[in-house]
C-alpha cells in the first residue's frame, strides 16, 4: 500500500488546494511513529498543515481510479504508483472525520499533487473515522 511510497522533497500543487490556492509547495511527512497517519505540510511561514490517511485504510473498497483530466493534472499515465491522502478534520466532540469525497493525490514520479474535486461522489467530506 501507499505507506511504502517515499515522497522526499517538495511536491508541487500547481493549483494549490481549494481554499489555499496560492499554496503551491507541500511536503509529505511520514514516520513509523505516526503511521498510518501522515502529514501534508504547506511549505512557508503560513503554510497550512493537514493530517492525512490513505482513504483505503478508512474504506478498503475506496476506488482509486482517475479520470483523464486528473491524470493530466498529475502528469500521470495511470499505471504508476500514486499516493492517496484523505484530509482529516477534528470535530468539537473529539471525534474525527476524513474527507473521502475530495482526496489529495500525489504523483511521486513527477513530484506533483492535486486535490480531486469530483462532480459526484458517494463519499462525504466528513466521513466519520471509527473510534476504538
Amino acid at each position: 500500500m501507499s505507506d511504502s511510497l517515499p515522497v522526499d522533497g517538495i511536491v508541487t500543487f500547481a493549483e494549490g488546494l481549494p481554499g489555499f490556492e496560492s499554496q503551491r509547495a507541500f511536503v509529505v511527512v511520514a514516520s513509523s511513529e505516526m503511521a498510518p497517519f501522515t502529514i501534508l505540510r504547506g511549505v512557508g511561514a503560513d503554510g497550512p498543515s493537514f493530517v492525512t490517511i490513505d482513504p483505503r485504510l478508512v474504506d478498503p473498497a475506496y476506488p482509486t481510479t482517475l479520470d483523464r483530466v486528473d491524470l493530466a493534472r498529475l502528469k500521470a499515465a495511470g499505471d504508476e504508483p500514486l499516493l492517496w491522502l484523505a484530509i482529516i478534520a477534528a470535530r468539537e466532540d473529539g471525534s474525527f472525520t476524513a474527507n473521502l469525497r475530495a482526496p489529495v493525490v500525489i504523483n511521486p514520479g513527477a513530484m506533483c499533487g492535486i486535490q480531486i474535486v469530483a462532480v459526484e461522489s458517494p463519499y462525504r467530506v466528513d466521513h466519520p473515522l471509527p473510534m476504538v
Binding site: 481554499g19 498543515s49 493530466a72 469525497r101 474535486v117 473510534m131
Partner: protein, 80 residues
C-alpha cells in the same frame, strides 16, 4: 465580475484558451459547455466551495500536529 449577455451558441474565451459556450437556454437553467486543455479542472461552484470549507476546517498549525496525531493514533481504528 465581468458580465456578458450571450445567445445560444455564443461563447466567451477566458485566458488563452478556455471557452465557455451557451448550448441551450431553458426556463430556469442554462446548459453550458466548457472547452479547455486536458489538464484544466472545471467544477461546479458549490462543490468547490464545499471542499474549500472542509479544507479550511481541517487545516492545522504545525505546532498542533504532534498532539493531533497522538490523539488520532490513540483513538481511531483503521483497516490496517
Amino acid at each position: 465580475m465581468l458580465v456578458f449577455t450571450r445567445r445560444v451558441d455564443e461563447a466567451i474565451v477566458i485566458g488563452d484558451g478556455i471557452e465557455v459556450k451557451v448550448l441551450r437556454v431553458g426556463r430556469d437553467s442554462v446548459r453550458i459547455g466548457v472547452s479547455a486543455a486536458p489538464d484544466v479542472p472545471v467544477h461546479r461552484r458549490e462543490v468547490y466551495d464545499q471542499i474549500r470549507a472542509a479544507n479550511a476546517a481541517a487545516a492545522a498549525d504545525p505546532a498542533e500536529l504532534p498532539a493531533l496525531v497522538a490523539r488520532l493514533r490513540a483513538r481511531v481504528g483503521t483497516s490496517e
